[in-house]
């Protein structure tokens, strides 16, 4: 038997371990089952090259793909360029980066802008209880706090407007700035606000809160939440274009690429929908967790995609699926999931926070194979718990009272 024969077989065997118990008496080793009806053959890695070189929201572009253009991705092994102390008792969120500036907050009482090249602080301003990651677009920085939504001039930090009726949470959805509109999940509704004034353009209520960051692609907003549905709303007026029912609450972000809308549900399913029609194309059931004889769903917390693979993070692993049909391609079981850990992908590389012997590390994976290309351990001064974001040739993480840039 040649290696070429053996490799896919072994991969298929490994891939089948999760679903083997579910298949049970069926007795085959493939991943084909009621939940994962694919052949187990991972299609060729053929990513879509994105245009974006900034990281404007919690998962980069307004489509929440976590993917950036190859030119934004540093080449070779990464080393620390600078660290900027951001003292906090509370924590950090994912840094956002636009037009050579990095925006961070301390989840407590301060918001800062840092020069991406030098690490010098450009401005800081007091802000009570900033919670999810900010979003930036059109020169406006939007930050959701525990009770309010704020907009600042991204260059100067001057306040543009404030909404004292739209608050969020640490584990909640991040805002999205798309064109001249700001999208905020707050209370029991999705709010579309004027970027320049903060006035409500439209509001659609499901009656339930949403921790799922919406995705905006062209003239459509894709939302999900505790309501269990995935919805496509017209960006102009919030009118519902389609909705698709799932079987559980959705806390994971929505992501959209190449005509496919991706979500992950609290039941442990990852689903791909046709962006035009809402028709379900495939679903993949994450391997359940076994504890005290019970099976508990492994919950998707972050979804990213490069147009060829779908990267799904849970609290303890990263799973790469084929965008075309949901086949599992590889996984990484060192993924260090936390309240603000993410995924960034570009130039065929995947950047993630991982566990290592000393605690935490920054790891670069080969997108096609899942093989580790680099692993950089954190230390007493710097950890890599929060992030990453990738923009303008730099990779950014936060953790242990500092924000770091690598390239």
């Amino acid at each position: 038997m040649t290696d070429a024969d053996r490799r896919p077989t072994r991969r298929r065997l490994l891939a089948s371990l999760g679903s083997a118990a579910a298949v049970g008496a069926a007795g085959c080793l493939g991943t084909r089952s009621e939940h994962n009806p694919t052949s187990g053959e991972c299609p060729e890695y053929d990513p879509v090259e994105p245009a974006t070189t900034d990281w404007r929201g919690v998962l980069g572009p307004t489509t929440n793909t976590g993917a950036v253009a190859a030119e934004a991705v540093p080449e070779g092994d990464l080393a620390i360029d600078w660290t900027v102390p951001v003292e906090t008792y509370v924590g950090h969120h994912v840094p956002v980066v636009a037009d050579g500036t990095v925006y961070v907050h301390d989840m407590d009482d301060e918001l800062s802008a840092v020069d991406a090249e030098t690490g010098e602080r450009m401005w800081t301003r007091p802000l009570t209880d900033p919670e999810p990651a900010p979003a930036v677009g059109g020169g406006t920085l939007v930050v959701v706090t525990g009770e309010e939504t704020h907009a600042f001039d991204a260059a100067t930090g001057d306040r543009r407007w404030k909404r004292d009726d739209l608050g969020g949470g640490i584990f909640g959805a991040s805002p999205i700035v798309a064109g001249d509109t700001v999208y905020v999940q707050s209370g029991v509704a999705t709010h579309a606000l004027s970027r320049s004034t903060g006035e409500t353009r439209w509001r659609t209520a499901t009656g339930f809160p949403s921790d799922s960051t919406p995705a905006v692609d062209g003239d459509t907003v894709y939302t999900a939440g505790d309501d269990t549905y995935v919805r496509a709303l017209a960006a102009a007026d919030g009118a519902e274009r389609w909705r698709a029912k799932t079987s559980a609450r959705i806390a994971c972000n929505v992501s959209v690429v190449a005509g496919t809308v991706l979500v992950g549900t609290g039941a442990g399913n990852v689903l791909g929908f046709d962006a035009e029609t809402g028709e379900e194309r495939w679903r993949y059931r994450l391997e359940p967790r076994r504890a005290r004889g019970e099976r508990r769903p492994r919950r998707p917390e972050t979804i990213a995609t490069d147009g060829s693979r779908v990267y799904v993070a849970t609290d303890d692993r990263l799973v790469a699926l084929a965008l075309a049909d949901g086949t599992r391609c590889w996984d990484n079981r060192n993924y260090a999931g936390g309240y603000a850990s993410g995924i960034a992908v570009g130039a065929g590389k995947v950047f993630v926070p991982t566990h290592d012997d000393s605690g935490g590390a920054m790891t670069v994976l080969d997108a096609a194979t899942g093989n580790t290309q680099q692993e950089l351990a954190g230390d007493e001064r710097q950890r890599f718990d929060i992030g990453p974001s990738v923009a303008g040739g730099g990779v950014y993480f936060a953790g242990r009272n500092a924000v770091v840039r690598l390239s």
Binding site: G187, V188, A205, T206, G207, F208, P209, G225, D226, D227, T228, K245, S247, A248, R249, G266, A267, E294
Partner: protein
């Protein structure tokens, strides 16, 4: 250890099952429900608790209200949804966490439906565990279940008719022909004749129950009945599991089937309704349709809420208050419409609105919600409102009303009656 009473009760059930086994079909009580337009005799309207009445009001404003303090003794406790029969509205004040059964006297009030004058209020020491049911050919008897396990029957003049000591904390009874079905807080289903005679009792199944003893409290819901038998639901012992057991019995107490519903978000059995083709159940915030003959699951609809009220059913749809008010297709459980509820996600955020959790009565193309009605076809508001402004009076704590309904309406042909924690008992006509 099993108490003597339980052994006797179990023996009675076994005997009943035995007889049924020998004689073919079990005894079926005579139960013609004549679908009154002037009464809402039990919590679910009919034995199947469909909440589907032939007629209801087309408009209305507050006609009268009876405040909690205006009655003597006062109408304290968690007010049950009203039942209406023979020109009288009956409401019970239930013992709860806030009205502790060890020192709370539960009121049962009879109010004149036309004038709103209180005819009488009877007090039940030790507290009531469920709402009233009216039984008898002439609506002459009101039955309520005590926290102490006593099923009390009261005449329409308030006099005591009989008491059956069943044991356990009793919930709301269902009337089926000339008998009553009531479930105890230990998960035991009792069949009682309209004269108070005990017909049979069926213990909930399972090995852990035999070991730990059947008097351990579990969460239950009102049983429902049709000509095939009676259906009950309870949360089993393994409290960390999100599961509810639903049991189908014949009218002799023999078990026909058992189904385990392990839906997401909440594990309380929140209500049953049975029709010719299906048994509908809410468990936590999930709505199920089961085959009423086999218990086999037909569909489920996860609302995303952790709490919900009992379902109601008309020819087309299933209606359930689960934060929003939902209308689902009977055949597939597909959402047809919803009335979005604007209450904030949690009661910690000073809500000025509260979730929809009451059983939504349906009559003649209208679904009744708070102080009015929405269209059964598309959910548009026809008249009335949410009465959230009624919250602004009284000692307002939102927390209990994120678990139990704020306003529980029932209807007759020309009026709507509801109980409300701050307004007491209200007639809208």
């Amino acid at each position: 250890m099993l108490s003597r009473r339980e052994v006797l009760a179990a023996g009675g059930a076994a005997l009943a099952v035995g007889l049924a086994g020998c004689g073919g079909s079990p005894p079926t009580p005579d139960a013609t429900f004549d679908a009154p337009t002037t009464a809402w005799p039990t919590a679910g309207y009919d034995p199947g608790a469909t909440g589907h009445a032939p007629a209801g009001p087309t408009e209305g404003t507050v006609s009268w209200s009876v405040s909690r303090s205006s009655a003597d003794p006062p109408l304290y406790g968690a007010l049950s949804p009203p039942v209406v029969a023979d020109g009288t509205v009956y409401v019970a004040g239930l013992a709860t966490h806030y009205y502790r059964p060890d020192d709370f006297v539960s009121p049962l009030a009879a109010i004149d439906a036309a004038s709103g004058s209180v005819r009488w209020v009877e007090g039940f020491a030790g507290g009531l565990g469920g709402g009233p049911a009216v039984v008898g050919d002439d609506s002459e008897t009101v039955v309520v279940g005590g926290y102490d396990g006593a099923l009390h029957a009261v005449g329409s003049d308030g006099s005591s008719e009989w008491t059956a000591d069943l044991g356990g904390r009793l919930g709301t009874p269902t009337a089926y022909g000339n008998r009553l079905y009531v479930e105890s807080g230990s998960g035991r289903l009792h069949a009682v004749g309209s004269g108070g005679d005990r017909l049979w009792a069926a213990d909930r199944p399972g090995p852990s129950e035999l070991l730990v003893g059947p008097d351990e409290p579990v969460e239950t819901t009102m049983p429902v009945a049709d000509d095939r038998g009676v259906y009950a639901a309870f949360t089993p012992f393994e409290r960390e599991r999100e599961a509810v057991v639903v049991l189908g019995y014949d009218h002799g107490g023999g078990r026909r089937w058992r189904a385990v519903l392990d839906g997401r978000y909440g594990r309380s059995p929140n209500g049953l309704a049975v029709t010719d083709d299906a048994l509908y159940a809410t468990v936590g915030g999930t709505v199920y349709a089961l085959d009423a003959d086999t218990g086999e699951e037909r569909w489920r609809f996860v609302t995303g809420s952790t709490v919900a009220g009992p379902p109601t059913v008309d020819d087309e749809r299933v209606y359930v208050g689960a934060k929003n008010l939902y209308a689902l297709s009977r055949s597939e459980g597909v959402e047809q419409w919803r009335v979005v509820n604007e209450a904030p996600p949690s009661h910690h955020r000073d809500p000025t609105a509260l979730p929809y959790l009451a059983r939504p009565p349906v009559a003649d193309g209208r679904v009744y919600l708070r102080t009015g009605a929405v269209s059964a076809t598309d959910g548009t508001r026809l008249w009335g409102g949410d009465a959230d402004e009624w919250l602004q009076s009284g000692n307002y704590f939102a927390e209990p009303y994120y678990r139990r309904p704020m306003a529980s309406p029932v209807v007759t042909g020309d009026a709507m009656y509801l109980t409300h924690p701050h307004r007491g008992v209200v007639k809208v006509a």
